[in-house]
Symmetry: C2
Subunit: 104 residues, 2 copies
């Protein structure tokens, strides 16, 4: 997660996930690790990059297709449903689905 | 840079810029601040999110159009040309241009 992902030639897809964190994020790092493991085993997963600041997390995962993202999204929702959920750890978050068209 | 960007309804564009940092990044934070100021004054700039890990930086900036990105890119190249340049601070980096199609 601290390396530049070697993705194939575009087009491919990116899930850009910024989040403003709550004060108390106990339990979240463990869940994030599980979600990452889930992603790694998901067909079409190309890699993930992430970074942090005080009270803020930014992750970008790369995928071969929108179908791969939908499948991963459904699986991660199931996992989140069993946990406290994003609403406890995140003050604010969005998920942006983007098509990578050019890389240089 | 540590807030979730309130972008308009898609489509809009993202510049995803991951970088593996060199040991010695002296001078880079100052340049990054200047580049951010330049971006803020650029037509079509919608915002930026960024995060860091040991030896790694991830920034995602948002833009109204590809033309806005091209203009910003030309301006930032001029600024970089006057400085030491990315090759000194970054071990490895790529720039991915993506079209944000869906947000939820």
């Amino acid at each position: 997660m601290n390396k530049v992902v070697d993705a194939p030639t575009p087009p491919y897809f990116a899930v850009i996930a910024p989040a403003e964190l709550a004060e108390d994020v106990r339990g979240y790092p463990e869940l994030a690790t599980k979600l990452l493991e889930l992603a790694r085993h998901q067909p079409g997963f190309l890699g993930i990059e992430s970074g942090f600041q005080q009270g803020f997390a930014l992750a970008v995962s790369y995928w071969a297709s929108l179908e791969a993202i939908d499948a991963w999204s459904a699986n991660s929702r199931h996992m989140l449903a069993k946990e406290k959920g994003k609403s406890v750890w995140f003050r604010k978050y969005v998920t942006r689905i983007a098509k990578v068209e050019r890389v240089y």
